[in-house]
């Protein structure tokens, strides 16, 4: 099948088949990443701008490496050294960048939906590297690839997701992707961090305790507590939070013995997860990061129209 989208902004906008295509392409891309010379000429002559209005280490680096492995020219722009601090609007920044003829703009932005706004303004491809509390599609895809690596499938799995769902774009992309693939999502977190109507997103159950969510789960996804986004009213402190919603070797036993533990990073050790779990045998945290490069290669490849990978 052919990938017909110019942009990848949200997994909500993609069909099951399109998600499968991206994941299977990512699986093939991993072969490139295991070579001695990790580079193919697929996107030679293409220019990719990484426009990051929010700080990021792993996502930006991962997109940059992904572009370079496909031989594209990648340029990174961060707001601290760009015109944003001079009061230029997003649209003007984008139009000026567009005048330099990039093929893809990979953007992270604090405002949900800003990629749709940008897409109406510019002709090049837009890839969402995270927008507000909306979506983080590359994270959703790499999570799915990591789960598929373990179980060989993405349907019929019980996926527990614990933490601040309201402020999490990772949660939304994971929910959109995994429910489309046929898995069930069980959410747990303080009610103050549970967005209204979240069950209506698909096969989603809101659990009253963490225990209920992770009981017999195949996958446990722990979300980062983002105190910078939350304000002060959602929980007493991280101590009490971790007491009820932290993953430790004890409560992890409730999940299936071969359950996969994931976290989008960066991890607050001792808050969302104890270090014994982060560094334990069930942790797939670094596997996620590794898969991130392959997934982002697949995304860049498909928005550029596909073609041969040598």
């Amino acid at each position: 099948m052919e990938f017909k989208h110019k942009d990848i902004i949200a997994l909500r906008d993609l069909s099951k088949e399109e998600i499968e295509l991206l994941i299977s392409t990512a699986e093939n891309m991993r072969e490139v990443n295991s070579r001695d010379i990790k580079k193919v000429p697929t996107l030679r002559g293409k220019t990719i701008i990484n426009l990051f209005y929010e700080s990021s280490t792993r996502t930006r680096t991962s997109f940059e490496i992904a572009g370079k492995r496909l031989s594209a020219d990648t340029v990174n722009i961060a707001p601290s050294n760009s015109s944003a601090t001079k009061g230029e609007t997003l649209a003007d920044t984008a139009l000026n960048l567009l005048a330099m003829k990039p093929d893809i703009i990979v953007m992270r932005h604090a405002v949900s939906g800003s990629h749709y706004f940008l897409s109406k303004k510019v002709g090049c491809s837009i890839i969402n590297a995270g927008d507000g509390a909306h979506e983080h599609p590359s994270q959703g895809l790499l999570d799915m690839l990591t789960i598929k690596d373990k179980f060989g499938r993405l349907d019929g799995l019980k996926v527990a997701m614990v933490g601040d769902i309201t402020h999490s774009r990772v949660a939304r992309s994971d929910i959109q992707g995994l429910t489309k693939m046929g898995s069930s999502i069980y959410l747990a977190g303080p009610p103050t961090m549970m967005p209204p109507g979240v069950e209506q997103l698909g096969n989603v159950t809101v659990c009253s305790t963490m225990k209920e969510a992770i009981q017999d789960a195949d996958v446990v996804i722990m979300l980062r507590i983002q105190q910078e986004r939350q304000g002060k009213t959602l929980m007493p402190n991280t101590r009490e939070y971790s007491r009820y919603f932290g993953l430790n070797p004890e409560n992890l036993k409730l999940a299936k013995p071969d359950a996969v533990v994931m976290h989008p990073g960066p991890i607050n050790r001792g808050v969302e997860m104890s270090s014994y779990v982060v560094d334990g045998s069930q942790s797939h945290v670094l596997k996620q990061v590794e898969n991130g490069v392959a997934v982002r290669m697949a995304m860049l490849y498909h928005v550029c129209g596909g073609g041969n990978v040598e």
């Binding site: 405002v111 939906g113 706004f117 507000g132 209204p196 109507g197 997103l201 304000g231």
Partner: protein
């Protein structure tokens, strides 16, 4: 100029009239209503066959942005939009720059409207000086200089003690207090209604209870001091219920809603549509149903537009950055006529909410076609179809969620003080 408005369906709730009649206007006043009337000497005849002839519509909640924000709208463009929407009077909110908190600004608006405007403009002064929520404004002088109400619209008065004193003080003067009822701590950084749609779009929500709590507070304060209060732009099921209960208890509370609150839900925000961003935000279908029920049973007294023009640059931005509000003067009439077509309101009830009631609440002495009254008259073509486009909107700003849609119903002729100021799209 004298007029004979002939053969229209005259609906005047103030006299209980709904009949095919002629209206004679002489020297700026309504002279006579009756059948088969002759044109006075030198009169222009307006054929109103198949049209409604009603007391001039009154919009008690608009933002004309003049002085200070004329790049969005000014008194000329705003009143041009008003008469194109069938309105003969508008009440303009005080969040101008500077705010309408003194006689000079109020007089400037009234005078500019008289010399250059197309319809009557009645300013609403501020509740607090500079709308800073700190000290009461000079309400006495504001009233003397022509303000018909006070409001810190857009900025709720946070301090309950200050609001209590404002209600008492205003009641002493005899000027209505209009409240923008929102509890700001609950609004927080919200940009749309809190619900499933905000969850899916990942946008920060404004819970409905933010409005409900503030509505309840205003009512309790008004009840305590025995003063009247008017709640602006009611948007939630809870507010409607709270106001209904208060009215039944005899509290002097009145309220208005806007066409978007009985027409749209927060679904309109999908696609991150900044022309569906307003404050209070578009709510959910059960709120729309409650607003309609409130209109029907009389809990909601008036329909006002909250006409809030914004420049393209303030709307063509990321959703969070976009200003709140939409233009409404020109789409209010067709959207409100839908309520009649749906059988929710009679035509007479609709005209009451769009003319008689606002006049009565604010003491404008209009909203009637009684002989001897000022000839503010709207002739409405209920069948007229027209497309809402940037070109068809008379307002300086084009921030309408209905751009590209076809409306049924429009002003065919608008008469202000006996003068024809608009004669159809």
């Amino acid at each position: 100029m004298n007029l004979l408005i002939k053969g229209g369906r005259v609906i005047d709730p103030s006299q209980g009239i709904d009949d095919t009649l002629d209206v004679v206007v002489e020297n700026g006043l309504v002279k006579e209503i009756g059948k088969g009337l002759a044109a006075p000497a030198g009169a222009e005849t307006i054929d109103a066959t198949g049209k409604y002839v009603v007391p001039g519509l009154i919009d008690m909640h608009v933002h004309l942005r003049d002085p200070g924000l004329e790049y969005k709208e000014d008194i000329i463009s705003g009143t041009r939009a008003a008469v194109a929407g069938g309105f003969t009077s508008v009440c303009c909110m005080p969040n101008t720059k500077p705010a309408i908190d003194n006689k000079a600004i109020a007089s400037y608006i009234i005078n500019k409207a008289k010399t250059d405007g197309f319809c009557n403009v009645f300013p609403v002064g501020t509740i607090t000086q500079g709308m800073h929520g700190d000290r009461l404004s000079e309400m006495g002088e504001l009233k003397e200089s022509g303000c018909v109400a006070v409001s810190d619209d857009g900025k709720p008065v946070k301090n309950s003690e200050l609001m209590r004193r404002a209600l008492q003080y205003a009641a002493g003067i005899g000027i209505m207090v209009i409240s923008h009822a929102e509890e700001l701590e609950l609004v927080g950084e919200g940009v749309m209604n809190e619900g499933f749609t905000s969850t899916e779009l990942g946008l920060k929500g404004i819970p409905r209870v933010a409005e409900d709590i503030a509505t309840a507070r205003e009512i309790m304060l008004a009840e305590y001091v025995g003063a009247p209060i008017h709640i602006a732009h009611v948007s939630t099921k809870g507010s409607v219920r709270i106001i209904r209960e208060a009215k039944a208890r005899g509290v002097k509370v009145t309220c208005e809603t806007a066409p978007h609150y009985f027409t749209l839900t927060d679904d309109a925000v999908r696609g991150y549509n900044t022309n569906a961003k307003m404050n209070p935000p578009l709510r959910e279908s059960d709120d729309v149903a409650a607003i309609k029920a409130g209109l029907k049973d009389g809990t909601i007294d008036c329909i006002a537009t909250d006409h809030a023009p914004h420049h393209l640059d303030e709307k063509d931005v990321e959703f969070n950055e976009a200003m709140n509000g939409i233009v409404g003067l020109e789409t209010s009439l067709p959207l409100s006529l839908k309520l009649v077509n749906e059988g929710l309101l009679t035509l007479s009830q609709l005209i009451e909410k769009m003319s008689c009631k606002p006049s009565e609440l604010l003491g404008l002495g209009r909203g009637t076609l009684k002989a001897g009254s000022v000839a503010d008259i709207s002739v409405i073509d209920p069948q007229k179809q027209w497309a809402v486009t940037e070109a068809t909107l008379a307002s300086k700003s084009k921030n309408s969620p209905w751009l590209g849609e076809t409306m049924t119903g429009a002003a065919a002729c608008t008469v202000v003080g006996g003068k024809v100021v608009f004669s159809g799209r």
